[in-house]
């Protein structure tokens, strides 16, 4: 989805978002209140520069606009796969971005992630998945890697993975699977501006994803294991 189309639908009260080298930044008006908007477009590979650009925008918001909500627009093919990025320590850049999002949340900024096109792996884990809550549009793609590549690495035939993906949310790339596993708060249908306004109003303050995964039946073991460790008891299967 074109980010301009998205931004106009999300922010009918206005925005000044601009794109520089697949990095989106600016501000927008949500229910009469100013929000910081950052994100990526064009299935951006997340290299050290774009990770740092996002982090900088978040730190500037925390420094200069206490409490201002932050909306992260996600469209990425994952981390950039280059020797240079690894040499420079790309994991440190991505961790830095994740820590900046985390700091913003703790300092009272509501942070909402929206997967409006594609979310993969390392590009997602430090953006949308670090938000208070992450949402997706119905046509979004979310995955760790394509089934063909997964088949090569796991040595499981692609046909087997394709078949399993029909019944098991663990393998399939659609947003409804991430919803069932608790990784997404909801999938937005209809009026996007209204959806964003209620997302900001209802943003959870703690990480509820394992509980959601259990309640929705997509991740049945995570919460019981966490509970067993917390309470020093045996795991009660769901």
């Amino acid at each position: 989805m074109d980010w301009n189309t998205l931004a106009n639908a999300l922010f009918p009260q206005g925005h000044d978002i601009t794109e520089h080298d697949q990095f989106l930044s600016g501000s927008a008006t949500v229910e009469g209140q100013t929000a910081t908007v950052i994100g990526t477009t064009g299935h951006a590979p997340i290299g050290v520069e774009i990770a740092l650009a996002q982090a900088k925008a978040i730190l500037a918001t925390v420094r200069s606009h206490p409490g201002r909500p932050i909306v992260m627009l996600v469209d990425t093919q994952g981390q950039r796969l280059r020797h240079r990025d690894e040499m420079l320590g790309i994991n440190s850049y991505m961790a830095h971005l994740g820590k900046c999002v985390d700091l913003a949340r703790r300092k009272g900024h509501r942070v909402i992630g929206l997967v409006y096109d594609q979310a993969l792996s390392g590009g997602f884990i430090t953006s949308g998945l670090m938000a208070d809550a992450c949402y997706a549009l119905p046509d979004a793609t979310i995955r760790v890697m394509a089934l063909a590549a997964m088949a090569r690495i796991t040595k499981v035939p692609e046909e087997t993975l394709t078949e399993l993906a029909k019944s098991n949310p663990v393998f399939a790339p659609g947003p409804e699977n991430y919803l069932r596993m608790g990784g997404l708060q909801a999938i937005w249908q209809g009026d996007m501006a209204a959806s964003l306004a209620s997302a900001l109003a209802d943003a959870p303050r703690t990480d509820q994803r394992s509980a959601l995964g259990l309640a929705r039946g997509g991740r049945k073991m995570a919460q019981p294991v966490i509970d067993a460790i917390m309470s020093g008891t045996h795991v009660r299967a769901a």
Binding site: V48, L88, N91, M94, G122, T126, V170, A222, V225, V235
Partner: protein, 294 residues
């Protein structure tokens, strides 16, 4: 001889004075996803978590088993780490010590693994926010890669051996995506100087480098716990602004250089080509005047 590299996860627990496991293998809590792929399961899902004594300190600790699916994080494995970190917030040990050896997300449980790693990331930062320092040790043959390479950099202190590796994408993945001329995964020297402990120490991505022995990791972990309590344990805006500046400077100074050898030369290291041959003490002495972020 007590090589950390050659020890498995449970043998590495010898660096603690005592260890009490949470959700032991006797409970047989295994991955719910591996059986349908005809893949083997482990009764601990590749990670040991529990409460330990380390000198005078009570710590919560986890050790990932590189011998089981490369230490990769699946639904149960990730939940054990999250449970440990959340219990730490409730019970307030002196620190959490994570013995990481992992390729990151377990592809056999792809989507669940990805969400789990992000839950671990948030749980690490929750522990720090509660004033509990998180110390990461990296010295296993599988290194700390993928999403867990990110988690590692969310800790207060990272301790690595020369043999340890810390990175994001594995060399094979990069070579597959962009060709052997981008990153030759069979060039072991290149792989080591790009991802290995010495490069990470020079770049300022880790705080200590130790020789490959369990007692050395133990001593460094004890010192790190004591030191972490001297400063702010939680994230601060000021610290992240400093980190932002450091990472910007890193791109400005080293971003156009082709090889870690060139980076070390640009830092002012006298004989970069000798660096891989130095033992830890000689290396630390040569590196300390030049390393970044110190």
């Amino acid at each position: 001889m007590s090589s950390y590299l050659e020890a498995n996860a449970r043998e590495r627990l010898a660096l603690f004075d005592s260890f009490e496991e949470f959700v032991s293998p006797a409970q047989r809590v295994v991955s719910p996803h591996l059986a349908q792929l005809n893949a083997p399961v482990a009764f601990d899902d590749g990670v040991v978590v529990g409460r330990a004594r380390l000198g005078a300190a009570t710590v919560f600790a986890a050790a990932q088993e590189g011998g089981f699916m490369g230490g990769a994080v699946g639904e149960v494995h990730g939940a054990k780490l999250v449970g440990l970190l959340r219990r730490a917030v409730a019970e307030r040990p002196d620190a959490v010590v994570l013995l990481l050896e992992t390729g990151g997300v377990r592809l056999h449980e792809a989507n669940a693994g990805l969400i789990a790693v992000s839950e671990v990331m948030r749980a690490v930062l929750d522990a720090r926010d509660a004033g509990i320092p998180v110390i990461v040790l990296i010295g296993g043959s599988n290194g700390a890669f993928g999403g867990m390479g990110i988690v590692a950099r969310c800790a207060n202190t990272l301790i690595i051996s020369e043999e340890g590796r810390l990175a994001m994408s594995g060399p094979e993945v990069i070579e597959t995506a962009n060709g052997v001329e981008e990153f030759d995964s069979r060039d072991r020297a290149l792989v080591w100087r790009t991802t290995g402990g010495k490069h990470r120490y020079l770049m300022g991505d880790v705080h200590r480098i130790v020789d490959d022995s369990i007692p050395s990791f133990r001593a460094a972990a004890m010192e790190a716990i004591a030191a972490a309590k001297q400063g702010p344990v939680a994230l601060t805006l000021e610290a992240l602004e400093v980190e932002q500046h450091m990472l910007e400077q890193r791109i400005a100074r080293f971003g156009a250089l082709p090889d870690p050898l060139d980076v070390w030369a640009a830092m002012g290291v006298a004989k970069p080509s000798d660096v891989p041959m130095l033992d830890v003490d000689a290396f630390t002495a040569a590196a300390n005047p030049h390393r970044q972020g110190a």
